[in-house]
């Protein structure tokens, strides 16, 4: 190996990384425990689902009540119409000579 190559060898000599390098590698081999995060996510999802189901139920109940009211109004209107016709007939007869 000539002088130039010796110089290259010196320039490219091995260097040590920062102290605690092996410990950092070891720490990275243990993935952090994220189970509590998953539990939180699952809990939030369950809450959202429950709220969704409850709101759907309330909406359906509302729709049913609305249909009942509409039906009641239609029946009332029919009855009122029949009563009106009868009153009109009675009035008509009372005016006859």
């Amino acid at each position: 190996m000539n002088e130039f190559e010796e110089q290259l060898k010196q320039t490219l000599s091995r260097k040590q990384p920062a102290i605690g390098f092996a410990e950092k590698v070891l720490a990275r081999t243990h993935p952090r425990n994220h189970s509590w995060k998953w539990a939180l996510v699952a809990g939030l999802a369950a809450c959202l689902a429950a709220v969704g189901v409850y709101e759907t139920y309330r909406y359906q109940q509302g729709q049913f009540a609305k249909e009942q009211v509409m039906l009641a109004l239609r029946i009332t209107a029919d009855k009122t119409h029949v009563a009106q016709q009868k009153v009109d007939q009675l009035n008509h007869r009372s005016f006859l000579p």
Partner: protein
């Protein structure tokens, strides 16, 4: 073939690490950290990036440890993975030098004078080499590998390694000599 002196502690640590002994794995890391880190440092010339890359290499080793057959295979594997990752990193994150080798500033000092300055200049000239020649020079003079061993690590033909090395040295020497006479 690649490890000239393989002491017994390396073998013991390797065998224990294979059985899942974390302390032994940490010992394996300590035994090889200078090699892996230095290849990355000399190639990327950025201490933080080199350390991150070296950590990634050992993390990859931790996952692939069962596939490693012997301490010699381990050293060879580490060199191969490190060199490939360095080249990939350089390509992805543009850690390549902004100037080509021909444009690199020549040293204005004699090689026989101040060594730290000379080493710094030589380091910069090595850094200016394209990726493959740079890695070949690092493996040749940091790891003292023969062309056949470099070919195996870099997975390129031996003839290519020899020609890359010859050209890289000629360019580096030329730059240094021109700098010395400037």
């Amino acid at each position: 073939m690649f490890v000239r002196v393989q002491d017994n502690s390396g073998l013991v640590a390797f065998e224990k690490a294979l059985l899942g002994d974390e302390a032994a794995f940490a010992e394996l890391v300590r035994q090889h950290q200078a090699m892996v880190f230095s290849i990355a440092l000399h190639f990327l010339r950025n201490r933080a990036v080199a350390e991150e890359l070296a950590q990634d290499v050992f993390l990859h080793l931790f996952r692939k440890l069962k596939e490693i057959e012997s301490p010699t295979h381990l050293t060879n594997w580490l060199r191969r993975v490190t060199s490939h990752r360095c080249i990939d990193q350089s390509r992805q994150q543009k850690y390549r030098p902004r100037v080509g080798l021909e444009a690199a500033r020549e040293p204005s000092i004699s090689p026989k004078h101040s060594d730290p300055m000379l080493q710094s200049m030589l380091d910069r000239l090595i850094q200016a080499l394209p990726e493959k020649p740079r890695m070949v020079v690092i493996l040749r003079y940091q790891e003292e590998l023969e062309p056949g061993e470099i070919a195996e690590v870099m997975q390129i033909p031996v003839g290519t390694v020899k020609s890359i090395l010859h050209r890289a040295l000629a360019v580096l020497r030329g730059k240094m000599e021109r700098g010395a006479h400037a």
